[in-house]
Each structure stands twice: as structure tokens, then as C-alpha cells.
């Protein structure tokens, strides 16, 4: 896998997570004041940095074949979860991910929550809301960076792709000061599900000792092949067409991303 594909895959996956984390931090900051949510965000980023610092070099010492089997299998299971949900959304069996709605719900909860601080944090609720959101979304970023990076022996390059995504989303978020609802998040999730599944398949099968026909070129068939299977599933699950705009996720739904 060349460097561009590695960086692009990690960038897309991490951009999705960064958009979700941004929504949570914005909801906390705009309703409870910015100080505590920003402290929470900083604390979560520090924890994530420690996790990457500890896991990155440790994973790098594992021999490549067992690493590919374990990491590939994890990535495959993880990717199939994304793909399964993305297909259900695109077929209208699950509501589309809507950052505006999530922002409104979290902001409403934050407004009604009680106040009170602890230690150096003036507002504990705002702190924990931002901390949990950034940490949980960030763990997925760390997982993607370490799996993609370790298998290729390029954790630094994968981290670069993740950092670019997080910085871009943060910069745009600071500019617009609103949830990034215009980001085609559902389409991105579909694409990321396809990529995670295809790369997970490639590496896990290589990890078993089997050899793909064409070696690395097999990815050129695996990615479009996975996409084709996913699109067939969407078509099959949609069933007979219903009147325009009656189902979430239908092509007639203006919010449909995929």
C-alpha cells in the first residue's frame, strides 16, 4: 500500500471521528462556557498521546505476520461494524447520523445539568462531557492509526494523516462555531467502512500465511469488490420503492449521504 492510500484512508476515518468529537465539545462549550470543556479536551488529548506513545513502539516490536493476522482481524471486525451500520442507514433501516440533531440534544442536556466544580475545574459537567467525548472518539482514531500504521511499519505517516484530519476539522469548527452538519458524514462513514473492511481482509488473510493473487495488487480488486457488495446489499435491503422522501436515507431524502 503506498503512502498516499495510507494517509488518505486514515485521514477519512479520523475526519469522521473528529467531526463527532467537535459536536460534543461545541455543545459543552456554547452552553457551559469554554474553560472547563477545553480543559477536558486537553486532558483527553494528553491521555490519547500517552496511549499512542506506549502502544505504538510496543506494537512495532511484534513480528509482522502475527501482527497482520491480529490487527487485520480486528480491523476487519471493526470495519464490518461500520459497513453494516452504513448499509442500514443507506437502505433506510437506520436513521442517518445528524450532527445538528446530536448537537441540539447534547446542548439541551448540558443546559439543564447542575453546576459545581472540582479541583482546578470550575465546571465538572462541562469537563467530563468534553473529556469523555474526545477520549472515546479519540480512541477510535488511535486504533485506526496504530492498526494501519503498524501493519505498514509507518505509524508516523498514519499519525500525520490523523493529525491533518483533526487539525482541519478543528480549524473549520473554530471558524463556523457550529456543528459541521454539511460534511457528508454518512457518505464518509460508508467509504470508511469499505476501506476498513477491504484492508482488514487483505492483512488478516496475509497473516494466516495465505497469499493473495497479485500480492498488493489484490487491494485494487478488494476495495471496489467490497464497495460493490455493499451497494448490492443497500439495493437489496431498500426493496420496492416507496413515495419520495418517506424514508430516512432514501435518495429522495435531502439529508441522505450515501
Amino acid at each position: 500500500m503506498n503512502a498516499t492510500v495510507l494517509v488518505l484512508s486514515v485521514f477519512l476515518a479520523c475526519a469522521v471521528e473528529a467531526v463527532e468529537a467537535l459536536t460534543i465539545v461545541l455543545a459543552a462549550g456554547t452552553t457551559r462556557g469554554w474553560r472547563s470543556p477545553l480543559i477536558g479536551t486537553g486532558a483527553a488529548l494528553a491521555v490519547l498521546a500517552v496511549v499512542v506513545g506506549a502502544l505504538g513502539p510496543a506494537v512495532g516490536r511484534v513480528p509482522l505476520q502475527p501482527l497482520r493476522l491480529v490487527v487485520g482481524a480486528l480491523l476487519l471486525v471493526f470495519g464490518l461494524q461500520w459497513l453494516r451500520k452504513a448499509i442500514l442507514r443507506a437502505a433506510g433501516h437506520k436513521a442517518l447520523h445528524d450532527e445538528d440533531r446530536i448537537y441540539r440534544e447534547r446542548a439541551a442536556a448540558a443546559r439543564t445539568a447542575g453546576g459545581g466544580g472540582r479541583a482546578f475545574v470550575p465546571d465538572w459537567y462541562g469537563f467530563t462531557m468534553a473529556f469523555k467525548g474526545v477520549l472515546l472518539e479519540g480512541l477510535e482514531v488511535v486504533f485506526i492509526v496504530i492498526t494501519f500504521g503498524a501493519v505498514q511499519g509507518r505509524i508516523g505517516l498514519a499519525a500525520l494523516g490523523a493529525a491533518a484530519a483533526v487539525l482541519l476539522v478543528t480549524a473549520v469548527g473554530l471558524l463556523v462555531r457550529a456543528p459541521l452538519a454539511r460534511v457528508p458524514e454518512n457518505t464518509l462513514k460508508f467509504a470508511v467502512g469499505v476501506l476498513l473492511t477491504a484492508f482488514g481482509l487483505f492483512w488478516s488473510v496475509e497473516g494466516t500465511g495465505a497469499r493473495w493473487p497479485g500480492s498488493d495488487l489484490a487491494l485494487l480488486a478488494l476495495v471496489p469488490g467490497t464497495l460493490a457488495v455493499a451497494l448490492v446489499c443497500v439495493t437489496a435491503l431498500r426493496g420496492p420503492r416507496e413515495p419520495a422522501g418517506t424514508r430516512p436515507g432514501s435518495p429522495d431524502d435531502p439529508g441522505a449521504g450515501s
Binding site: E20, I24, L69, A73, L74, L76, V77, F78, L80, Q81, W82, L83, R84, K85, A86, I87, L88, R89, A91, H93, K94, A95, L96, H97, D98, R101, I102, E105, M129, K132, G133, L135, L136, E137, L139, E140, F143, K189, G193, T197, L201, S204, V205, G207, T208, G209, A210, R211, W212, P213, A218, L222, G225, V229, C233, L237, P248
Partner: protein
Amino acid sequence: MNHVHNFLRFWYDFVIGDDWTVALCVALALGATALLTACHVAAWWLTPAAVVVVLAVSLRRATRSGGGTGDRTGGTGRPGGRG
């Protein structure tokens, strides 16, 4: 004890997710691929084929049970909800 349970629950949700049978089938397919490869049989096709079947079955089950997690609101029920 509650913290341990929550910690394990988090990792279960993180890695396994809504349908544990997907993870089980992937593990079995990879095990079978490794076994056949050790016997010098070309088995690279086995896991992709298993993935197509298990994905289709999992989706069919999810649509029959109303979205798998029962979540039709787009949220995942936790701040770090995946996918």
C-alpha cells in the same frame, strides 16, 4: 466491580459491536484459512467469501429485528458511538 464491568463492556462494544456472530464467523474463517494454507491449499478466497455471507446474514437479521440495535434515531447511545 462496576468499573471493571464498564471497562470490559466498553471494549466489547468497541471491538465486537452489535452482532457478535460477525466476529465469531470472521475468527472461524481466518482459522480455516490458516489451516488450509498450512496444508498447502490455496485458501485466500475463503475469508472474503465468508465475509460476504456473514454480512448478508447479519443485515437480514438486523432489518427483521428493526435495525439491529433498535436505534433508528441515528445515535449510538454513547458519546463515542461508532459508525
